[in-house]
């Protein structure tokens, strides 16, 4: 599904070469639940952006869903993003002037889906995420948990193969955070590859695959037992 082969990414900052990722090899299958943990500056977010095609590797190859996406043009990247990748952000990134329903509709509009099909899909998503009675509300009229639910509904609107979450619980209290994680984890059962970047070891330990990064390298990967996420939920 996701296949990274010796992927490196370096930036030029001033006259210095900063390497954010070094020789990353990673293989993630559909339905995998992966958490990426590590200190700030370890390259977690860069890896996530790279997988989400918001960035390009400096070297190495990246295959997504069988196709080589290493050297796609901006346009092609955008198309793949639109069809296969969903993003969930720490700060939700909802468009403030649009209602919850319109925020959810946004990727469908960009993909050029016809209005009646769009409407049906948005209705379905609002129902799935318990937002039907919040459909007409603007983001500033929603609670943090509701906002993140809108964001998840938006990310899943196009049935993505990969869902990338960057600190999805970072701006939420514990109870709401758990609720949001449960929603994300439900997608794993639908064969979506879920990748969560987090600082929080509690959140990270819910994943079946836990990757630790330091200085742009993957230093370890723990494969938790399949029921690990359920047990952590119970113990908290």
């Amino acid at each position: 599904m996701i296949l990274l082969d010796k992927v490196s990414r370096s930036f030029t900052v001033g006259d210095q070469q900063v390497t954010a990722l070094r020789d990353i090899d990673l293989n993630i299958a559909a339905g995998d639940y992966v958490s990426i943990m590590g200190p700030s500056g370890s390259g977690k977010s860069t890896l996530l952006n790279l997988i989400g095609l918001l960035d390009r590797p400096s070297s190495g190859t990246y295959k997504l869903d069988g196709g080589n996406v290493t050297d796609l043009s901006d346009e092609q990247q955008a198309k793949v993003r639109s069809e296969k990748v969903g993003f969930v952000f720490q700060s939700f990134h909802l468009v403030p002037r649009l209602t919850a329903a319109m925020n959810i509709e946004l990727p469908l509009i960009l993909a050029g889906i016809t209005p009646d099909r769009r409407k049906a899909r948005v209705q379905q998503l609002l129902e799935d995420y318990g937002l039907t009675d919040r459909a007409g509300h603007k983001p500033d009229q929603l609670s943090g948990g509701q906002r993140q639910r809108v964001a998840i509904a938006r990310a899943t609107g196009m049935h993505p193969a990969v869902l990338l979450a960057d600190e999805p619980t970072g701006n939420l209290d514990q109870a709401t955070g758990r609720e949001v994680m449960n929603l994300l984890e439900q997608l794993v059962a639908q064969h979506v590859a879920l990748i969560v970047v987090t600082h929080d070891p509690v959140i990270g330990s819910r994943a079946s695959r836990q990757i630790h990064m330091v200085d742009g390298r993957i230093i370890s990967e723990n494969k938790a037992p399949a029921d690990a996420s359920d047990s952590t939920t119970d113990t908290r």
Binding site: G52, D55, D74, R81, S91, R97, L110, A111
Partner: protein, 402 residues
């Protein structure tokens, strides 16, 4: 992404910051309104002059005695001679040209008119029956001067509307006798009230046969010969013929000036059209200023909405789609702004028309089109840069901007 969705999204973001949108539209509409009103005024002035000229008659060729040219000091001047005067025979001779339809000799003078105990000074025009047609006058009552022999000095006259009112009041003027200088004339007609045109008020004149005027003023010369060419195309031929005929009659001396009304009119037309263009051009500068304003505000909008742009990219928007969204905003802004400006401008033109009814103020269609085109053009042109800047944003950077 469908056009309607682009428009919906863009109008949403315009409505999202309504004060900014309103100000930009205001700038646009003031620009368009200025072009419409100013060109309307210029065009009004042009039409006013053209109307004034055509009210003097159509296809006119005018023969004046004397010649305006720089020729040093001729022997005639040293001897105190004046140029040979135009005579009735000259006027008669012009009719030989096939290009000339009608001829109205004109002599002018002033005298006292009296009727009963009332008397006043009037301008007396000596001419023939053809003057009515040539000079586009209209008759209120009775009949005009008899046509036919130019040399017959009948004692009849036609009064201007105001003269009739002053001398006769409510009484019947037709058939009455008035005294002009030392001669008596019978009133046979009254001109319709036409008001002033080109500084000449036909309401305050008295028209008598040209031969009678010559007797009255004891002259034989003519002030002008008004010549009507048979058609617009014949004007040039009529002018050449008139020059040739008079050259022969005056023993080969070029001592008359023949001008065409068309040439004078064309000059005025050119001057006033240039004026309209100049004024319109100045107004168009305000449109360019509005365009720069739009660019400025769009650039601010791009940096204000940097996170939104990053998000759209993350959601799968292509660079082209983002560019189109910003373009659509510019088009909507300048489109609605121009329409509002057009309405304001036309309202202004209408208001000016109401205040100065004699000025035919109409914004010419080309100016309206040019104003709309310039408005849309500048709006779109000046949004190219902001739109490209938005489209080129690095999504990772844009998303991480707080």
């Amino acid at each position: 992404m469908k056009l309607i969705d682009v428009m919906r999204f863009s109008s949403g973001s315009l409505l999202g910051s309504s004060a900014r949108t309103l100000l930009m539209m205001l700038a646009m509409s003031i620009g368009v309104a200025a072009v419409v009103v100013l060109t309307g005024l210029g065009e009004g002035a042009r039409r006013y002059v053209v109307n004034q000229f055509s009210s003097l008659g159509t296809n006119l060729v005018i023969v004046l005695p004397g010649r305006t040219e720089t020729a040093g000091i001729g022997p005639g001047m040293l001897l105190g001679q004046i140029p040979r005067e135009l005579t009735l025979d000259d006027a008669q001779a012009l009719l030989r040209s096939t290009a000339i339809g009608r001829v109205a000799p004109l002599t002018i003078g002033s005298s006292q008119i009296s009727q009963g105990a009332l008397n006043r000074d009037v301008v007396i025009l000596g001419s023939t029956g053809d003057l009515l047609e040539v000079r586009h006058m209209s008759l209120g009552q009775g009949q005009f001067l008899p046509t036919g022999d130019m040399n017959s000095s009948e004692s009849v006259c036609v009064l201007g509307a105001k003269i009739r009112r002053e001398l006769f009041g409510q009484e019947r003027a037709i058939g009455a006798w008035v005294r002009l200088g030392d001669r008596r004339f019978r009133v046979i007609g009254v001109l319709a009230s036409q008001g002033e045109s080109m500084g000449f008020n036909t309401d305050e004149i008295v028209i008598v046969p040209v031969a009678s005027a010559h007797l009255l003023f004891n002259t034989s010369g003519l002030f002008r010969i008004l010549v009507e060419a048979k058609s617009r195309d014949a004007i040039a031929q009529a002018q050449r013929d008139a020059e040739q005929i008079l050259l022969r009659r005056h023993n080969g001396e070029r001592d008359v000036t023949v001008i065409t009304q068309d040439a004078v009119l064309a000059t005025f037309d050119r001057i006033l059209t240039a004026l309209t263009l100049a004024v319109g051009g100045i107004a168009a500068i305000s449109l360019a200023v509005a365009g720069i304003l739009i660019m400025n505000v769009m650039l601010i909008a791009v940096s204000q909405r940097i996170r939104e742009i990053g998000l759209l990219k993350a959601l799968g928007a292509t660079a082209a789609q983002i560019r189109n969204l910003f373009f659509a905003e510019a088009i909507l802004l300048s489109g609605i702004g121009s329409v509002v400006g057009l309405i304001l401008g036309e309202a202004g033109v209408l208001a000016i028309g109401k205040i100065y009814p004699s000025l035919p103020v109409v914004a010419p269609w080309w100016a309206v089109l040019a104003a709309l085109g310039t408005a849309m053009g500048t709006g779109i042109m000046f949004s190219v840069w902001p739109a490209r800047r938005a489209a080129r944003l690095d999504p990772v950077m844009a998303l991480s901007r707080s």
